[in-house]
Symmetry: C2
Subunit: 246 residues, 2 copies
């Protein structure tokens, strides 16, 4: 933790049991940690779930971009640092830096959050919380592009999936990390063995729920590949663009 | 952390993003934490993965029992404490207590671990590591029954599943927590809404791998229900018995 309340850091240790088949930090775990540290920072600023839930509101991740020079390895310590870059009435831009045990930055992330009313399932007004004033840290650097707005994926090669009990989170919709697992599963193990992720952009477009049947599809375009989860009525639930390292 | 090296404790905070649909700690997350703290304690005793991997060995969870009086709630701190009760040539009994923020014990767990040679995929001899002597803490109390040896589940009502990239862990077999998710998914959301888990026994019987097709089935027997994952050749991969609270 730093003394500047506009910055929040946490140190983690990557255990063997947390690693992916490549013995590195899995992307869904990094997203879980990003959500965790965003939660802890928001709580420390009195703008977290315990506060906003009094008005029936909850934080929801809307867009995400991550760029990694390299991924944390097994038995390695790593540190996440986060800050709010900016906010508007209906969104908040939160950035992150990922450092290794020696303090070298190994990656950056940009996230866009909204608050949603749990009853209406509609975006709620962030500016009713006066404590959000003064928390921005626009001078902290995050030298990666903002999360891209991704186009619809066109593919006839789809896989079906029905969301199960274990896929559902606290907000009674599908867990943000679970979508990413399903999107990563569009590529076989031997592809992942050879191609670590250099950058990913994710758009969360629509809530999916327990028992919902979806189609999952991917559209490879050279080194960057697009994937999407589509609901039975054809509307998009989430989209991702992966840039794999050569 | 305590000053007795035979005990190891860690404190955690349950964020909203980690909760299940019942806004409680999910069983797979508790198992993840149990594996994590076991790893950290073993590392601190110089019997962890960094040490035993020199001989090509890795720790594998073989059996597990958990009993919870209640589950940690959203935004609650909880603490895990672990110790080794006993060990033999090919197994190690590790127990855990789960406490709430006020220090009240809310659950216990018993785990059985083996070390496996990563090349031969066979159990390896634990007693070649002299540092395992003197680490046992048999006087610490764990007042729950040992993990049961579970019988085969008989059911014609099976669901098929093929293991995907995201299901595979560091040891190139299916993640221990992922089996539990698939076993929990045998029951619908409204059952889980009404019936928190009071006790679970899990037997890990055989490694499952990437691309493997399995059948998942459940056999309800009143308040205790059995579930199993079976490979295509009929051999059992893992079994669970859930005792649901009324």
């Amino acid at each position: 933790m730093t003394t500047d309340h506009r910055l929040y850091s946490a140190r983690y240790f990557l255990t063997p049991g947390e690693c992916n088949a490549q013995q590195l930090m899995p992307l869904p775990l990094l997203v879980e940690r990003i959500i965790e540290i965003a939660t802890l920072h928001a709580d420390s600023l009195d703008i977290g779930y315990p506060t906003i839930s009094r008005e029936g509101n909850t934080w929801v991740l809307s867009r995400l971009a991550i760029e990694m020079k390299r991924w944390p390895r097994v038995d390695e310590y790593y540190e996440l640092t986060t800050w709010v870059e900016n906010f508007g009435r209906f969104w908040s831009d939160r950035n992150l830096a990922i450092a290794d045990a020696d303090g070298n930055t190994i990656g950056y992330a940009r996230t866009v959050w909204v608050i949603m009313n749990m009853e209406t399932r509609r975006p709620a007004d962030l500016t009713i919380y006066p404590q959000i004033e003064g928390i921005c840290n626009p001078e902290a650097e995050c030298p990666i592009d903002r999360p891209a707005k991704l186009a619809k994926v066109e593919s006839d090669d789809t896989v079906g999936y029905t969301f199960q009990y274990s896929d559902i989170d606290f907000n009674r919709h599908v867990n943000s990390c679970r979508y990413i697992e399903l999107l990563l599963n569009c590529w076989p193990m031997d592809w992942h063995d050879e191609h670590p992720i250099a950058r990913v952009d994710i758009n969360y477009l629509k809530e999916a729920h327990y028992g919902e049947q979806v189609s999952i599809m991917a559209e490879p375009q050279g080194q960057t590949a697009h994937a999407e989860i589509v609901s039975a009525d054809g509307t998009s639930i989430s989209r991702a663009a992966f840039r794999f390292a050569p």
